[in-house]
Symmetry: C2
Subunit: 298 residues, 2 copies
């Protein structure tokens, strides 16, 4: 795609705003739409044009990017009243960067095929920090030649961009990522609580374990925040639970027993019962602290 | 300790042999003992002296190092007939590098106190490769001043040497390490099987996931071996199970629920039932492949 590609951007939340801003900075003309007005105003101030609806955004753009809440939100924006499908025109590509269901992704792609719209699924990993810095990991699915036409658009938002296969494959890989992230988090949490209960300073345990075969992003990045009592969300429990629900739904559909992932989901459920949905995922350790009757921060 | 420190080394297996060799290369005089003769012969050929028994080794040494099978083996060598305790003399230090029970460690330390022997627990992580290269992680417990007297001996065998606290603390941290290693392995295994069942090439999934918040030593080092069909042990399932048994025993003694670790132990148990005790721990994925009715290598 050339830099004169006109891009539409729908979904201007914590992730969408900085991603859209990186596209503006890369020189793309941007038409934006959002369910609420403040997100739109922020981007218009930075040079974007306000669209009237997803349909209007599609009509004005070669590529429409969405990053909204979940599968039903994508379906609404894509196929609902005044949806993207109503703005179909020759060469239109929809890149959906929402983490959502692989099967819903494929259903939308099938509807789009009749209207001549190409769909690329492209969920991201890396959080708000990665969105701001333009260093997101982007996992993509759809036709390879369509993906390749979007390469420079992805380059403006991310660093590690992996083509994973046919429609829905980006979503599958993103859900695999959440399986790994969830269980690496449990690994760290069980070790922290065991150290504390067995009389060893958790910080000492982390120092020794993260140097070797136990090393992980979680131990490097989340464990120090836990010991500082910092449970502010990089990635909040409510969103982690949405993604684990999607992973377990995919597992169910494909007859794949995931006993560890199911356990992580249940432990987060206990935290949600205690009103912690808005805390960061590092609060998983609190579920184990409660079970073991210990606090790491006393 | 000075380089003229006389060291005794008991337990010349896969780990012990290269560790003892690194001590010889660092210039230490070494008296060795092993339950079977071939290990002794190999080290004597390299310049070590053969001891007649653990007692004899202790009498000839300032520091005796053990790295044997499990807690009962350490008890036998330390407190049994012709054991280290019978060779007690002024200033003798026993460094036990076996991964074994923190509570048995403390019991031996108490018996030793009456005989004037100091015990340091110092289990290692890093496998045969780390033992050969002298890059082991060493987690130590015992009196800090005794640990400090042994620093140059540890430096000859390892790279990351962490003092964890009073007697048994090195063992506690090693068991925490095994909790993390086991669950990071499960994280990788569940993601691999989910990708395969959902129609995405596992190699592609790994490429995308290991770059971000899902990264771990397991994904970097074990996943490629799984995809190559290489299940030779770096660290074998029988030893992983021994360590998980110790971790769950410690958890039980300290009333620490470890639901994820218990699950990993059960899945490895299924592999042992299938005769895979001698395979590497990366074979954990085979338990999930069997449950899901899929093979990653077809």
């Amino acid at each position: 795609m050339e830099q004169n590609t006109r891009i539409g951007f729908i979904g201007l939340g914590i992730m969408g705003q900085p991603m859209a801003r990186n596209l503006l900075e890369a020189g793309y003309a941007l038409t934006v739409w959002n369910r609420s007005q403040p997100g739109i105003d922020a981007l218009v101030k930075d040079g974007a044009t306000e669209g009237a609806s997803p349909k209007d955004v599609a009509e004005r753009s070669n590529i429409v990017i969405t990053i909204v809440g979940d599968a039903p939100d994508v379906e609404q924006v894509a196929l609902g009243d005044d949806g993207i499908i109503e703005g179909a025109h020759d060469g239109l590509i929809h890149i959906d960067m929402t983490t959502q269901s692989p099967s819903v992704t494929r259903q939308i792609a099938e509807r789009y095929a009749q209207a001549g719209i190409e769909l690329i699924d492209a969920p991201v990993s890396g959080g708000e920090r990665g969105a701001i810095d333009g260093t997101l990991s982007i996992m993509t699915g759809g036709k390879r030649e369509v993906f390749e036409r979007c390469q420079s658009v992805f380059d403006a938002m991310g660093k590690t961009i992996v083509y994973c296969g046919l429609s829905g494959s980006g979503q599958v890989v993103k859900l695999c990522n959440q399986v790994v992230v969830g269980l690496n988090n449990l690994a760290m949490s069980e070790a922290l609580v065991l150290a504390a209960k067995a009389g060893v300073a958790p910080a000492t345990m982390i120092e020794a374990v993260r140097a070797g075969a136990g090393s992980s992003w979680a131990l490097q990045n989340l464990a120090p925040r836990i010991l500082d009592g910092d449970f502010a969300p990089g990635f909040k429990i409510a969103h982690q639970q949405k993604d684990l629900r999607l992973a377990l739904e995919l597992a169910d559909q494909s007859h794949t027993p995931l006993p560890g992932t199911a356990l992580v989901h249940q432990l987060f459920s206990a935290l949600e019962a205690d009103g912690m949905s808005e805390e960061g995922t590092q609060a998983l350790v609190k579920a184990l602290e409660k079970l073991a009757g210990v606090s790491l921060r006393e």
